[in-house]
Amino acid sequence: MKKTRKKLKMKLRMKKKMKLKKLNFSVLIMLVMVLIVSCAPKPTPVPPAEEPEVEAPVTGEASVDEVAADISDAADTDEELDTSELDDVDSILAEIENI
């Protein structure tokens, strides 16, 4: 009788030990999962598509909008007639004078 009791006690103790081991194991797995998730490369945020340059709003009044259009045209004319576009001419002329 005593022997069987002892055996039963042993069995119970073993079972408890096993349970604890299982618990530790599952905690460990969860920790690993957390680490994996946190270490995973974060998706790089997609840069927002460049918004097309919004044209200056027009008023719908021809006399006002025409002046506005001519104002931007004046700036273009200044650039179009700039002599800096002929800098290459200066350099080749200098080169040829020294042949």
């Binding site: 700039d82 290459d88 001419v89 080749i92 042949i99």
Partner: protein, 503 residues
């Protein structure tokens, strides 16, 4: 003994009665006195009540009297106002306009009743605040100010009372001139003292604009413009090609130089020179196209610039012939020198012509913006007449006017630098002055851009509350051009004088 005893008792009884009778006597006296006092008090009370009643009655009577007097007075004022408002020129006004005038005090109305019907009508279109401001002036001042049209009158009434009084003392011609100015100039001039206002106004000319030209110096037909633009694009394309080839030839030339290959040097130098000449000619063609297309230069200016550009093109073409004929290094060097010298002169001239085109454009833009301000004044006056109020719109128009004034000032400075550049004989000075003129013109251009951003906002706000606003039609008043002769030096003097005055 019994008797004696009885008498004794009776005596005691009688003696005991004495104090009672005395006491009775005393209480009677007291009662009498009390009654007397009561009577006196009652009499006094009655008297006071009587007095109070009398006073109340008197007060009532007085109040009634004063009410009656006031009533009589009010009736008298109403009668007088009514009398004024019964006059033909008042009756002829539209109801809503008359209603505005009805709100005025008798004294204010009296100042207006002498005005002609036309002037009265002008005033009746103004808002209450402006009518009151005007009616605070003397009768003569009102008569003088109301000679100008309502839109201009309303603009002038936006000035402070102090300035308004100063202006109202000017003669009709000066008031008319002043009323035609934009808000920025009006503000600037109205700050000055009377003598200076007159001096300043003498330098300003108001000119009617040619309806056909509308701030342009000449008209270029649409067909011609298309043709010129095509020519411009072709020249630009050829210039681009020439530049590409110049780069190629230059590197080939450097290689040939390094290799000591004279034949290759001559070939690449010749072709390089020809490409350089082509680039110069095409750049000049571009400037020529812009001059031909410009409506901001008059015929004379255009002809003179084009003749000069053509002469420069011929000069380069001659040099090109020399290059083609050259067979030796020396001849090529000589041709290169010739082109280089010509190019240096041409470059300076090209910059001058480009500045003429661009500054002409900016000048025209300033004029057209001033014209838009005039339209705004007209529309604001219409809105005022209709009782449409847009909060802060007047301030925004003033901001717009100020920005145009800044652009005008920068353009004037740019033109001065440009004049100096044309006059100087020193190349380096000319280059610096032209750069300065260009920078100032760019600043003027930026001011114009800012002004038009404000204008767009103004137009949107106006259209939101006054759909019928007409920006396209030109009123007789809109087509006016201001010619201001004042130069910078004089402005500086005036500012100094002003500062002295203020001190």
């Amino acid at each position: 003994m019994k008797k004696k005893g009885a008498i004794f008792v009776l005596m005691i009884f009688l003696i005991s009665l004495i104090p009672i009778s005395i006491a009775q006597d005393l209480t009677d006296n007291q009662k009498e006195a009390e009654e007397l006092e009561k009577d006196r008090l009652k009499a006094a009370e009655d008297l006071q009540k009587e007095k109070l009643r009398a006073a109340e009655e008197l007060q009532k009577e007085k109040a009634e009297n004063s009410k009656e007097i006031q009533k009589k007075r009010v009736t008298a004022v109403r009668i007088t106002k009514e009398d004024i408002l019964k006059e033909r020129k008042f009756i002829d006004l539209r109801k809503e306009r008359l209603d505005r005038l009805k709100e005025l005090r008798k004294e204010e109305l009296e100042k207006l009743k002498h005005l002609e019907k036309e002037k009265l009508e002008r005033i009746s279109k103004l808002n209450k605040e402006r009518i009151e401001k005007l009616s605070n002036l003397r009768q003569k001042q009102i008569t003088r100010l109301t000679t100008v049209k309502e839109a201009r009158l309303s603009k002038m009434l936006g000035l402070s009372e102090e300035r308004l009084k100063k202006i109202a003392d000017l003669d009709a011609r000066q008031i008319e001139k002043l009323s035609n100015l934009d808000r920025a100039r009006l503000d600037e001039i109205s700050k000055l003292d009377k003598a200076k206002i007159k001096q300043r106004l003498d330098k300003i000319k108001i000119r009617k604009v040619d309806v056909r030209l509308k701030f342009k110096k000449r008209i270029v037909s649409e067909n011609k413009k298309v043709e010129i633009r095509e020519r411009f694009e072709r020249a630009e394309e050829r210039l681009h090609e020439a530049k590409e080839k110049i780069k190629e030839r230059r590197s080939s030339l450097i290689e040939a130089k390094e290799a000591g290959n004279d034949e290759a040097i001559i070939e690449h130098a010749k072709k390089g020179l020809l490409r350089a000449a082509e680039a110069i000619i095409n750049h000049l063609e571009k400037v020529k196209s812009k001059v031909q297309e410009s409506e901001d230069l008059d015929e004379k200016e255009t002809e003179s610039i084009i003749a000069d550009i053509n002469a420069k093109i011929d000069e380069i073409n001659d040099a090109k012939a020399d290059v083609e004929a050259a067979t030796t290094k020396e001849e090529i060097r000589a041709a290169a020198k010739k082109i280089n010298v010509a190019w240096k002169r041409i470059k300076a001239k090209s910059k001058i012509h480009a500045r003429e085109v661009v500054n002409g454009k900016v000048r025209s833009l300033v004029k057209r913006s001033e014209h838009l301000e005039k339209k705004l004044d007209r529309i604001l006056a219409e809105m005022e007449e209709k009782g449409i109020d847009v909060e802060g719109i007047d301030e925004k128009v003033t901001q717009f006017s100020d920005k145009i004034a800044e652009a005008r000032d920068k353009l004037r400075q740019s033109n001065e630098k440009f004049k100096e550049a044309k006059a100087t004989g020193v190349d380096e000075d000319r280059k610096t002055l032209l750069e300065e003129a260009k920078a100032l013109a760019r600043e003027a251009h930026d001011d114009l851009k800012e002004a038009h951003d404000i204008l767009k906002e103004i137009v949107r706000e106006i259209k939101a509350s006054y759909r019928e606003a007409d920006f396209e039609t030109d009123d007789e008043d809109d087509l006016i051009e201001i010619e201001d002769e004042e130069d910078e030096e004089e402005i500086e003097d005036e500012t100094e004088d002003e500062e002295e005055n203020e001190a």
